[in-house]
């Protein structure tokens, strides 16, 4: 099974850091009376885990019957959310807690209109249901909802927090975790414990977890091939670069927008004159705009690569001033 799930804390006390949040949540649990809540914070800091642990402590082993998990990104429109909430709220909770819990993850992905509708739904079922909204940014949640919720801000995890957890898991799984491997995990995780654990497990698939193993994993997860694709085009090898493009789209399942964003990031790392980088960035922006408008991603990106190929040739023939 996946270690992110295997080692997801079941109890509030086991959650990594977030002490202030946990203390307050525990008070609510003690009185068995919880308000609507909004958990806000960066990914992989324990928001969903806290919500699930809270439910577990509140309802005990039959917590599943009393919790509805919804994900705003997956539900098609507010209509579906409303329907599911309505169906769910119809039946009474099991056990001695007089309400059920609805966890709505990625709530900040809802439009303002959908959130207005959600607010009404929340009011309608307040007697029988409590909502826990989860979001990366509380600012993306409309004011009227914020004012009805107790807001909990999850802090980014420190490197020490993550390191301790990773070392613990490695020990439980009898994985040989080298010092440089741990360092690399911390570097790529950027404070996201979920990503750290996933990286650890994938690297452990190779055996010993050292720096090399970690970067092999990351190479897969965040394609450095984007730059290679651009360099191929600039050097005049259009066919190869188009092949690379297709590989990225098919094999890695990257969308055209994913690719163009990464191209934009990588263009400034290319070994070409500074002035040329700006010209390419301009063109990339144009293509990005076209794709947002709904143009065919592969054709637009191919056109961009053809432009790169021509640009590369012009650079070789009449070099710009290198600044």
């Amino acid at each position: 099974m996946l270690w992110t799930e295997k080692y997801r804390p079941k109890k509030l006390d086991d959650i990594v850091n977030q002490r202030e949040v946990i203390e307050r949540v525990k008070q609510f649990v003690k009185t068995k009376n919880i308000p609507h809540m909004l958990f806000a914070g960066p990914p992989g800091t324990g928001k969903t885990t806290t919500a699930l642990a809270l439910a577990y402590e509140l309802y005990g082993s039959n917590w599943r019957q009393n919790v509805l998990e919804l994900n705003a990104s997956d539900e098609r429109g507010i209509q579906t959310v409303r329907e599911r909430v309505k169906d769910y709220a119809r039946t009474l909770p099991m056990g001695d807690v007089p309400y059920k819990i609805i966890i709505l993850d990625e709530a900040d992905n809802m439009t303002a209109d959908a959130q207005q509708a959600l607010r009404r739904t929340m009011e309608l079922y307040t007697r029988t249901c409590r909502f826990i909204l989860i979001a990366n940014y509380s600012s993306k949640i409309i004011e009227p909802i914020q004012s009805r919720c107790a807001i909990f801000r999850f802090q980014p995890l420190s490197e020490d927090d993550i390191a301790n957890r990773i070392k613990l898991i490695a020990e439980m799984e009898s994985v040989e975790l080298r010092e440089d491997g741990l360092k690399a995990i911390l570097y790529v995780a950027e404070g996201d414990l979920r990503r750290a654990i996933n990286t650890l497990q994938a690297a452990a698939a190779l055996g010993v977890v050292d720096e090399k193993a970690v970067y092999r994993v990351v190479g897969k997860a965040s394609p450095v091939e984007i730059r290679e694709m651009m360099e191929l085009a600039l050097s005049g090898n259009f066919m190869k670069s188009r092949e690379k493009l297709r590989e990225l789209m098919i094999t890695y399942g990257l969308s055209g927008v994913d690719i163009i964003r990464q191209m934009h990031r990588e263009v400034f790392a290319l070994k070409i004159p500074e002035e040329a980088k700006v010209k390419l960035a301009d063109k990339i922006g144009e293509i990005n705009f076209r794709m947002i408008e709904g143009a065919d991603e592969e054709i637009q990106l191919s056109a961009l690569l053809a432009f790169f190929a021509l640009f590369g040739q012009q650079l070789r023939e009449a070099p710009l001033h290198s600044k």
Binding site: L2, T48, K220, A295, S302, A303, A309
Partner: protein
């Protein structure tokens, strides 16, 4: 012997009645008619085998010639078939003994329903009179002989109906060919081929060869592009017409006079641009035109203002053609990867989505989160650690396709599945 270049329809053509698949009853009826006819018993002088294409009508006659040692005299609709012509060729054969001895003969006229009254003046009456005078058995084939004009012909013939080959029979036959070609084929792939051809064995074998020749394994994804292929006919000429045009009008006409779908043609042009244009200037200009064509197409779709489509057409034909600096040179055009990949990846996408849904449920994340934060790691694990992969596969309840998607190959998937 190398099988390169040999059509499998010929390579695996039955040489005995027992090898023909399907239509047992029709063949038995035909044989008993033929035997009586050869012995001179009083039966219809001709037989008309009718039914959908590719189910073995002509084949029955060819095999009969072999098994009864008869000389086969054959004509089909593609021959010029005026009454004069038929009389000359068939009349001669039916009247006189063969030059090579006294072997019996069997006369086959294929696709008689292809005879049109206007073009083949007297064609029908010539066949009827041929049947009347022939000393040898005459066999006709047709897809649909029920036009009233064929009534006099039908009256003279033993009518024998051929049916579509049933799916399981066809799949079993394809499997046999794969076995002999040393190809490991998924059942789903063979079923996909068999289903599409609607009981037409000939098409099925052709499709199988197109998809499988030179491979060791055949998966569903390998055959799905076939569905696209049917609609590609004529597109090579259109491409050549566009690229070779000297004027805008000429380039536009090359498309306008064809029946090719413009969205599909865009993919063909996209695929072949770098083959046609090797200089960076031409290629960049041509891609610029094509990408602008694509923009107009998007605008037309979005606004439903289909008059905008004419600008799409301008740019994708004249636009990509007028950038050339030298004379047109011929290149061998390629089938668009995108169409191939698209039909493959439709299936792949479905598999991928299912995996993401399973992860989303188990790991309390959205499907897009599952795709970005879990899938890459899973792939890495499945490619590198069979043991760990098996554990995760069990936990997520993945089937063989999903495992293969993550592991990147069916071989690896087998290894993983064996540890479940």
């Amino acid at each position: 012997m190398s099988s390169m270049g040999l059509l499998w329809v010929n390579k695996y053509k039955p040489r005995k009645f027992s090898e023909i698949i399907g239509n047992r009853e029709s063949i038995t009826t035909f044989r008993s008619w033929l035997e009586k006819r050869l012995k001179g018993e009083s039966v219809e002088k001709a037989a008309l085998l009718w039914g959908p294409p590719g189910v073995g009508k002509t084949l029955t006659v060819e095999v009969a010639a072999l098994e009864y040692n008869l000389e086969l005299i054959q004509m089909n609709a593609s021959d010029v078939r005026t009454g004069e012509h038929i009389k000359r060729i068939l009349g001669m054969a039916s009247q006189y003994a063969s030059l090579f001895g006294t072997r019996g003969k069997i006369i086959l006229v294929d696709e008689v329903d292809g005879i049109s009254k206007a073009e083949d003046r007297g064609g029908l009456s010539a066949i009827i009179s041929l049947i009347d005078v022939a000393r040898f058995p005459v066999v006709l084939t047709a897809n649909d002989p029920w036009d009233p004009a064929f009534r006099p012909l039908r009256d003279k013939c033993k009518m024998i109906r051929y049916n579509r080959i049933r799916l399981p029979t066809l799949v079993a036959f394809l499997k046999k060919i794969c076995l002999m070609e040393g190809i490991k084929a998924e059942d789903s792939a063979l079923r996909f081929i068999a289903k599409r051809v609607e009981g037409d064995v000939r098409s099925a074998i052709n499709d199988l060869q197109a998809a499988a020749q030179g491979r060791r394994t055949l998966t569903l994804a390998d055959v799905q592009w076939l569905a696209m292929r049917d609609r590609q006919f004529g597109v090579f000429d259109v491409l050549k017409g566009i690229f070779a045009a000297k004027t805008c009008r000429g380039a536009k006409a090359a498309f306008a006079q064809s029946l090719v779908d413009y969205e599909m043609l865009i993919q063909w042009i996209h695929e072949n641009l770098p083959l046609q244009y090797t200089s960076p200037e031409e290629l960049a200009s041509a891609y610029d035109a094509l990408s602008r064509a694509d923009i107009f197409l998007g605008r037309a779709k979005r606004t439903q203002a289909w008059t905008l489509l004419s600008y799409t057409i301008d740019l994708m034909t004249a636009g990509v053609s007028m950038v050339k600096k030298d004379r047109y040179h011929f290149v061998k055009y390629q089938f668009p990867q995108k169409l191939k990949i698209l039909s493959q990846s439709k299936e792949v996408r479905a598999v991928r989505n299912t995996i993401c849904r399973r992860i989303a449920e188990k790991c309390h994340v959205s499907r897009s989160m599952a795709s970005s934060e879990y899938l890459p790691y899973l792939k890495f694990i499945f490619e590198n650690n069979v043991e760990m992969a098996a554990g995760i596969a069990r936990w997520l309840n993945l089937d063989e396709f999903m495992i293969a998607f993550l592991a990147g190959s069916f071989e690896k998937a087998k290894e993983i599945t064996s540890r479940l």
